[in-house]
Amino acid sequence: ELKVEQNPLFLSMQEGKNYTIYCNYSTTSDRLYWYRQDPGKSLESLFVLLSNGAVKQEGRLMASLDTKARLSTLHITAAVHDLSATYFCAVDHETSGSRLTFGEGTQLTVNP
């Protein structure tokens, strides 16, 4: 059974600081997705990582995928308050068919 673990689950950081959210998964996969969820809103697709070594960047967020380590990271550079949200990673696996397996989510709060 595929398991996806994120850490930390809660992250409070100051504006201007850098930090990394980690997403570990238990079985081989080369397709990983990051989503953002604002309070009271739906999940919005952030990044799609489709191969080992894939790196995607948008603004202050950068996501990478290391399939050999079964690890994806979401790096936040010079955080701003607008990045406050919950971030989910999700993984495809051949045994799950069309179903994504989600991590528990990381609730990020960026304080002024």
Partner: protein, 115 residues
Amino acid sequence: DAGITQSPRYKITETGRQVTLMCHQTWSHSYMFWYRQDLGHGLRLIYYSAAADITDKGEVPDGYVVSRSKTENFPLTLESATRSQTSVYFCASRRRQGLHYNEQFFGPGTRLTVL
């Protein structure tokens, strides 16, 4: 381009009543999903569907029924609502491309309260 929509967005009902949550997508995606999201439980898959007339149970199907007579619609019915079904419900869809599936898109959600 409407994408994926859900209705109603908010619903209050009473224990024992039947409630149907609607989901509609305009992309002709084959695969559709229903999740519930509760504090402390993250996203939990209720039911999913690979095509019209093909549905399957997810992680927490008890108390729910789905149907999919048309590709674009995937209604979720609570046959006899219970307080434990108070939650936010998200519908989602994705398509298959070759051997792989593309990214999954979520609807705006329905906030259901069962009194």
